[in-house]
Chain length 302, copies 2
C-alpha cells in the first residue's frame, strides 16, 4: 500500500478569538500527511526553504511520514498569515509569501511512482496533472482539492486534470463556482461529467456530503463547544478520508461512508487547538472513540 | 390523545425562481396541522376573516383537522406576500397585512383544554402563555416557536413563557439571538436555563439538530434537486415532529430521534411545491418511504 500526497508545507501565523501563534508548521500536505498517518504510511512531495529546521523535519519523520520527496530549495518556506472572525466562519488573509513554493515543480522519487492512493492537495492544476503523469500505473484512487483561485484563473487546466481523478474534494462555495449550479445535486451531476465519479463537499460547521452515482451520504460536523482554529480542517478531513480508504484497500459504499466519518473525525480534532497541536497528541483510540460518537450523533431506528 | 396547535392561518402570495402564486392558503398553524394530521387528529386554534371560504374550511375539515377553535372575525384574513432569491436562501417580505390577526386572542373550546400535546406556533409570547393557562393540566409536551421580532420586542414575556414549555423549536439565527451565543452547544445550555429541556434548531438546507441533556442528534436536509418554495418548511417540520410524538405517546431518546426524522420528511416534502400543494397530495406511504431514505442518507457502520 502506498499513499502519496503532493501539496504545500508552510509556516502559518494564526489569530482567532481563542489566541494567536506567530509561526507554526502548517500547509495542506502537512495536515493531510499527519492525519492520514494514523491509518497508513504516507509519502510526501513538497518543497521547503532553508528555514525549515531539523526539528520540523524530525516531527514529520518520527511520525513515519516519508520525506524522500521533500525538496529543499534556497530561500524561505511558504508563509501564510490569517485572522479568523469571532465565530471562526470568516477569515482575512494578512500575508501570503509564496517564497520557494512559487517555483515548486513536484518530482516524484522513483519509489513513489507506484502510488496506489494519491491526494493532490490544493496547488496549480498543471502541477497536479504532472504528478499524475509521473505515477506509472493509474492509481486505485486519486483525489483532488482545488480552490476559487484555480477555478477562475486556470479553468481549462483544471478541467483537463479533473479527467484523471476519481474524487473531487472541495467546499460548497467551490462546488457551486466550478459547476455554475447552486443546487449541490445538480452541481454533482455536472462535475461527474468532468471526470470524477465521487464528489465530497466539505461544509465546515455543517459537516460534509458525499455524492456518487449511488446517491448521497451526509455526515454532520462534530459539535464542539470551543473550536480554536479552523486552519487545516479540510486537509485533515482529506487525510482521514484517504488514509482510511488506503488502509482497507476498498472503496465500496460502506468503506466510503466510513471514510467520510474518519475524515470528519480528523477534521474535528484538528480545529480543537491551534495549528497541528491537537493532531500532535492525538491517539488512535481517541479517533475510534470519536467515530463511535459520530454514530451516536446520527443514529436512529424507524 | 390530543394535539393542539395555536398560530396563524393566512393567505400567502409567493414568488420564487420556480413560479408565483397570488393567493394560497398558508400560515404556520395550517402547515403544522396539515403535516401533523398524517399522524394524529389535530385541534386548531386560529382566527380567519370573512374571505376565508367554505372551500378553505372544507379542505382542512376533510383532512380531519378539528376547527371548533377556528374563530371567524369581521375583516380579512392575515395576508403575507414574499419573494425568494435565486437560491431560495433569502427572502424579502413584500407585504404583511395582519388584518383580523392583529386582534387575535386565542380562546380554547372546552374540549381542547385537556390537550396533552401543544404546539405554540410563532405568535406573541403573551398569547402563547395565555394558551398554556387555558390548558387544564400541564401537557405531556409543549413546544414553542418564535422569531426575531418577539426576541427583540417582547423578550421578558418570551422568557416568562419559555419557563412553561419543554421544547423550543427555532432556527439557528434565532437560537444565537436568543442566547447571545454563537456556538449552538453553548446556546443550548443557555436556553435550558430558560426552561425548555430540548432545543430543536432548524437549519434549512443544512438540516436540523436536537440538543438535550443526553447530547446532540443531527439530521441532514433531504437533498432535493428542485425545491420550489421554502414557505412553511419549519412549520411542516414541527407538525411532523409533534404529530409523530403524539402518535406514539412517548418522548424517550429513540422517539425524539424518530420525530426529528419525520419532521425532516414533512419539511422536505413541503418545499417541493408551492404552498401546501405537495402536502395536499402526500400519502402516508410516501412519508414512510422517505423516512427510510433518510436512514440510507445517514447510515454507516464502523
Amino acid at each position: 500500500m502506498s499513499l502519496l500526497v503532493v501539496g504545500s508545507v508552510a509556516f502559518d501565523a494564526l489569530e482567532s478569538p481563542y489566541g494567536k501563534v506567530d509561526r507554526t508548521l502548517g500547509g495542506a500536505a502537512t495536515y493531510f500527511a499527519v492525519a492520514a498517518r494514523f491509518f497508513v504510511p504516507v509519502n510526501l512531495v513538497a518543497v521547503v526553504g532553508e528555514d525549515f529546521s531539523e526539528k520540523d523535519e524530525q516531527f514529520l519523520r518520527r511520525r513515519g511520514i516519508n520525506l524522500d520527496g521533500l525538496e529543499r530549495a534556497p530561500g524561505k518556506t511558504f508563509f501564510w498569515a490569517g485572522r479568523y472572525s469571532q465565530d471562526l466562519n470568516e477569515r482575512v488573509t494578512l500575508a501570503t509569501e509564496l517564497n520557494v513554493f512559487a517555483d515548486f515543480n513536484p518530482r516524484l522519487p522513483e519509489k513513489y511512482r507506484s502510488a496506489e492512493y494519491v491526494f493532490l492537495a490544493n496547488i496549480a492544476p498543471g502541477l497536479q496533472r504532472s504528478v499524475l503523469h509521473q505515477v506509472k500505473v493509474r492509481p486505485r484512487l486519486a483525489a483532488l482539492d482545488t480552490m476559487n483561485y484555480w477555478i477562475e484563473r486556470t479553468n481549462a487546466e483544471l478541467r483537463e486534470t479533473l479527467h484523471h481523478v476519481d474524487i473531487l474534494m472541495i467546499n460548497d462555495a467551490e462546488t457551486r463556482q466550478l459547476s455554475n449550479e447552486h443546487n449541490l445535486l445538480l452541481a454533482a451531476r455536472h462535475i461527474f461529467r468532468m471526470g470524477p465519479s465521487i464528489l465530497v463537499v466539505k461544509r465546515g460547521e455543517h459537516g460534509a456530503m458525499m455524492v456518487d452515482k449511488r446517491g448521497v451520504f451526509s455526515v454532520p460536523a462534530f459539535p464542539l463547544e470551543e473550536p480554536h482554529d479552523p486552519t487545516g480542517a479540510g486537509d485533515s478531513f482529506a487525510g482521514g478520508f484517504m488514509g482510511y480508504l488506503a488502509s482497507v484497500r476498498r472503496h465500496d459504499d460502506a468503506a466510503l461512508r466510513r471514510a467520510m466519518v474518519y475524515g470528519s473525525v480528523l477534521g474535528s480534532f484538528s480545529v480543537e487547538r491551534f495549528g497541528l497541536d491537537r493532531l500532535r497528541t492525538l491517539k488512535r483510540s481517541e479517533i475510534n472513540a470519536r467515530a463511535r460518537h459520530f454514530a451516536k450523533l446520527t443514529r436512529f431506528t424507524l
